[in-house]
């Protein structure tokens, strides 16, 4: 069997498919590891800073979240506003987890087509937040949008 026949054979085709499949598996596994690590880091920071953030004297939970699917997301929040201050919001997500959103001068806060300020947000408003976790278990918001109820 010469080189050309080998390359055109079914076995060679199967080998290429096998390699492509393993590559896809590795890429997906790596992506999963990355997302899981970020979620776990955020969950850890939130747990470490729980008492400081919520200032209620209650001991922080041993671990916030549990299985992978219930670990808090570290890149945003969706839920009802519980508290508003000059630079932070506390949001309660539908799974009853509370997140602190830190707002800065670069955060875009929007309601319908208008750009508003943090002080225009009221307790009880339903918001979506896009951002990034910081080292204190909070989310630095890039975008906050008030959603219609």
């Amino acid at each position: 069997m010469n080189f050309k026949e080998t390359v055109q054979s079914k076995t060679f085709k199967g080998f290429i498919i096998g390699v492509a499949f393993i590559l896809l598996l590795v890429i997906v596994f790596q992506a999963g590891k990355l997302v899981g690590l970020r979620k776990a880091e955020f969950s850890g920071r939130l747990g470490d800073n729980y008492g400081r953030i919520f200032d209620d004297g209650i001991r922080p939970p041993m671990m916030i979240g549990g299985m992978m699917d219930s670990l808090p997301g570290a890149h945003g929040a969706v839920g009802e506003v519980l508290k508003v201050s000059s630079s932070t919001l506390v949001v309660a997500e539908p799974n009853n987890l509370e997140k602190v959103i830190r707002v800065s001068s670069t955060t875009a806060i929007r309601k319908f087509r208008d750009t508003i300020t943090i002080l225009d947000i009221k307790v009880g408003d339903f918001i979506s937040v896009l951002g990034e976790a910081n080292g204190q278990g909070e989310i630095d918001a890039k975008l906050v949008r008030i959603m219609p109820k």
Partner: protein, 121 residues
């Protein structure tokens, strides 16, 4: 002598065909049961996925593409990661696993059905 050999040959071939037919029937039954079970199991999982997508805020994040397209384009990395965070990965994986079982078992059932029909004729 020649008649005896012909008779023996036809008996052996008939027995081989009977064994093949029995195996095809058994495989078809297993295929039908598997495809039925996997089809029925898909419904509660789909309902669970929709409910989880609602709770996780997936649709709220997705809607930001339409309301704040330019901002989402700038912060596409945070947007993609928030969508991935909100996706119920385990349930989605289960759906695909069940779909694979359903399609594979359907394929084998039809192949065995054709084989059985060819033997019966």
């Amino acid at each position: 002598m020649k008649d005896n050999l012909d008779y023996l040959e036809s008996r052996i071939l008939n027995q081989i065909n009977e064994i093949k037919l029995k195996r095809a029937r058994a495989k078809m039954l297993v295929g039908r049961v598997l495809s039925g079970v996997s089809f029925v199991a898909l419904f509660p999982i789909f309902i669970n996925i929709f409910s989880q997508l609602q709770t996780s805020g997936f649709w709220n994040y997705l809607s930001l593409v339409f309301t704040d397209t330019s901002t989402v384009a700038v912060y596409w990395k945070e947007f993609s990661l928030s969508l991935v965070d909100a996706l119920p990965i385990v349930s989605v994986g289960l759906v695909f696993a069940l779909l694979l079982v359903l399609l594979t078992s359907l394929r084998f059932s039809i192949q065995d059905y054709k084989l059985i029909k060819s033997y019966e004729f």
